[in-house]
């Protein structure tokens, strides 16, 4: 059964059809990659799925619930997490606190109980901290716990952002260009990491330009061009798809 089902999703920006009638699904426990030339509508599609943008038409079904029109915090509470194309960490908070924010949907201390400093809120705080440290351990970055996010190296920031999303313990993880700005070694490690995350039972949908990474770890690849789906298949089949080759290499070279 599919965890995510997108049906005829469309969004226009003025005269530009950013995403047009896109339909696809993501199977539970799989890694699906979303590729396409710059401006193909990949990030827009992410934003439509997550509720950061509202679709003009179409539906998004997640884990049996129709979630189009929901706000991002509601989507997050339903079990979806994301990273951003340009790292969006909380700059003045430590790496550990950044990851701890990811525990928001799994903790419940509110305004009044927090102000009163009730004992259960303190226990909850300790549990949040332990879980955040455990996730940083899984990512191999527990030594960065007390470093302020803004003083982390770029590659480390990407890992912490990933940790923050993992702290949500999502069913579905959306990764927007997880390897952007990383060198070859870091990219290989990121690919391994994404596979390990999938092995923990998290379904992954990712946008990526690094074809080696995409072809190595993805179970399925969705190709967008000018906002429209041109292929949705196994990696090898997509590589041989004449339409995909034309879009990526140009018609004359095909």
């Amino acid at each position: 059964m599919s965890l995510l089902v997108v049906k005829d999703l469309s969004r226009r920006f003025g005269g530009l059809q950013a995403v047009g009638q896109v339909s696809f699904s993501v199977a539970r426990g799989s890694i699906k990659a979303l590729i396409g030339p710059n401006g193909a509508g990949k990030t827009t599609l992410f934003n439509l799925i997550f509720g950061s943008l509202l679709p003009d038409s179409g539906q998004v079904w997640f884990d049996g619930k129709q979630i189009d029109g929901w706000q991002p915090h509601q989507v997050a509470a339903a079990g979806m997490a994301r990273t951003f194309q340009h790292v969006r960490l909380f700059a003045k908070m430590s790496a550990l606190e950044n990851v701890a924010v990811g525990r928001h949907v799994h903790s419940r201390a509110g305004f009044l109980s927090s102000m009163m400093g009730l004992p259960w809120t303190r226990r909850e705080q300790r549990a949040v901290r332990d879980k955040a440290l455990e996730i940083m351990g899984f990512l191999g970055v527990e030594d960065l716990a007390d470093v302020e996010a803004s003083s982390l190296a770029y590659g480390q920031q990407r890992i912490i952002e990933l940790g923050r999303a993992l702290a949500c313990e999502p069913k579905l993880l959306l990764l927007d260009e997880p390897a952007a700005g990383l060198n070859m070694r870091e990219t290989r490690e990121m690919a391994k990491l994404i596979a390990r995350i999938r092995d923990r039972g998290v379904t992954v949908l990712l946008v990526e330009h690094d074809m080696t990474l995409v072809m190595n770890i993805s179970d399925e690849v969705l190709v967008l061009s000018y906002g429209e789906k041109i292929a949705d298949d196994k990696p090898l089949a997509v590589q041989k798809n004449p339409e995909v080759v034309r879009v990526y290499l140009g018609e004359d070279d095909a």
Binding site: F50, S52, Q71, P72, H73, A76, A77, A81, R82, F84, R88, L89, F90, A91, K92, M93, E97, A100, V101, G102, R103, H104, V105, S107, R108, A109, G110, F111, S114, M115, M116, G117, T121, E124, Q125, V128, A149, R164, A165, C168
Partner: protein, 358 residues
């Protein structure tokens, strides 16, 4: 564990007592009056620190909330209902003990709202106004939010300045004391100076304890996340719109509480409490305290308000706070007590010792 978490609060309470003893020892008990007033202003400042410093939502209208609290409580406790005592509403209020009868200076009959009821009414109205203002306005960011809250502050100022009901430019005077419990009352009589000092600072220390708990909690972490990257916080499941509104209302209520108590302490309130320069002053103090630094804001707030109330800045009072704001933004954007500045000073002190080491 409990002690380690709470020692700053305990230290603050001890400092409050120490300042009292010090003022008595040096024979300047009158300083307690300005310190009491500075305490009530501190309630506005710590609330604004939570909103501005931690959550990153600038408000140039908090003097408006202070004034709403003070004016409503002042008006209700001075507005004579005696001539309407046959009306149904007044009779109902009287039956529920919300009114108190007395006599004015000339022996005329006086029927006004009890200070307790007036205080509660003032706070409830503040909650309602803060909610109605905050709901649309907090969708704005940065400069736009600043402009919108400035507009709100201006409206409050113009309304109290233009309404003869609240004394227009003269404001409200002869506001009665606010009896609390066990014979304690918020009043400016010099015989009650010491207990009013402890009353004000008890409130401040209590508010600080609540806010310190809050910033170290799940909610506080979410607030700082909103400051850092609102869209990312939202994507992590933080209901950013709701949380911003809650903080805005909380800070408005703290401001109004300060307004209510200071108005009864002073026995009067005037339109200058609602002026834009007062809002700018609060913002300047939060900035000089280090923005996301409750203790810094409290310390700077007491110091600067005390000096201002003692008249140390003369007729340049407002100019001093404007200057502070500019200077802080240029030279110490993280506040006078910022870790960089402290580290730099600490570095200066440490250097000679390192040279001596082998």
């Amino acid at each position: 564990m409990v002690f380690r978490k709470n020692w700053p609060i305990l230290a603050c309470a001890l400092a409050v007592i120490a300042v009292h003893l010090l003022s008595a020892a040096v024979g300047k008990p009158q300083y307690l009056t300005q310190l009491t007033m500075a305490g009530y202003y501190s309630l506005v400042i710590v609330g604004l620190t939570l909103l501005m410093g931690y959550t990153g939502q600038l408000s140039l209208g908090h003097a408006g909330f202070f004034a709403i609290g003070g004016y409503i409580s002042g008006l209700l406790t001075t507005y004579n209902l005696h001539s309407r005592s046959s009306g149904a509403v007044v009779r109902a209020l009287r039956a529920t003990h919300l009114l108190v009868a007395g006599q004015d200076l000339y022996g005329g009959d006086l029927l006004v709202v009890r200070p307790w009821a007036a205080c509660v009414a003032a706070l409830l109205v503040t909650v309602a106004i803060a909610y109605l203002v905050g709901k649309p306005v907090l969708k704005l960011r940065g400069h736009y939010l600043a402009m919108a809250t400035l507009g709100f502050g201006t409206i409050v100022y113009k309304v109290v300045l233009g309404s003869s009901l609240v004394g227009a430019a003269d404001g409200i005077s002869d506001i009665p004391a606010f009896p609390l419990f066990a014979g304690l009352a918020v009043t400016g009589r010099s015989a009650a100076r010491v207990h009013n000092y402890y009353l004000a600072w008890g409130l401040v220390v209590g508010a600080m304890a609540l806010l310190i708990n809050l910033i170290h909690s799940r909610v506080g972490r979410a607030l700082r996340a909103i400051h850092g990257a609102e869209d990312a916080a939202n994507a992590m499941g933080v209901d950013t719109g709701r949380l911003k509104l809650q903080v805005f209302v909380l800070s408005a209520v703290l401001a109004a509480l300060g307004g209510v108590f200071l108005t009864h302490y002073n026995g009067g309130i005037g339109p200058s409490e609602a002026s834009i320069m007062k809002s700018v002053r609060y913002v300047a103090i939060v900035a000089i305290g280090g923005m996301a630094n409750l203790w810094g804001a409290l310390l700077m707030g007491v110091l600067l308000n005390f000096l201002s109330l003692r008249g140390s800045f003369g007729s340049f009072d407002d100019a001093v706070f404007g200057l502070i704001l500019v200077a802080i933004m240029l030279f110490a954007p993280n506040g006078l007590l910022s870790s960089e500045l402290v580290r730099w000073i600490a570095g200066l002190c440490r250097r000679p010792r390192q040279e001596r080491a082998p």
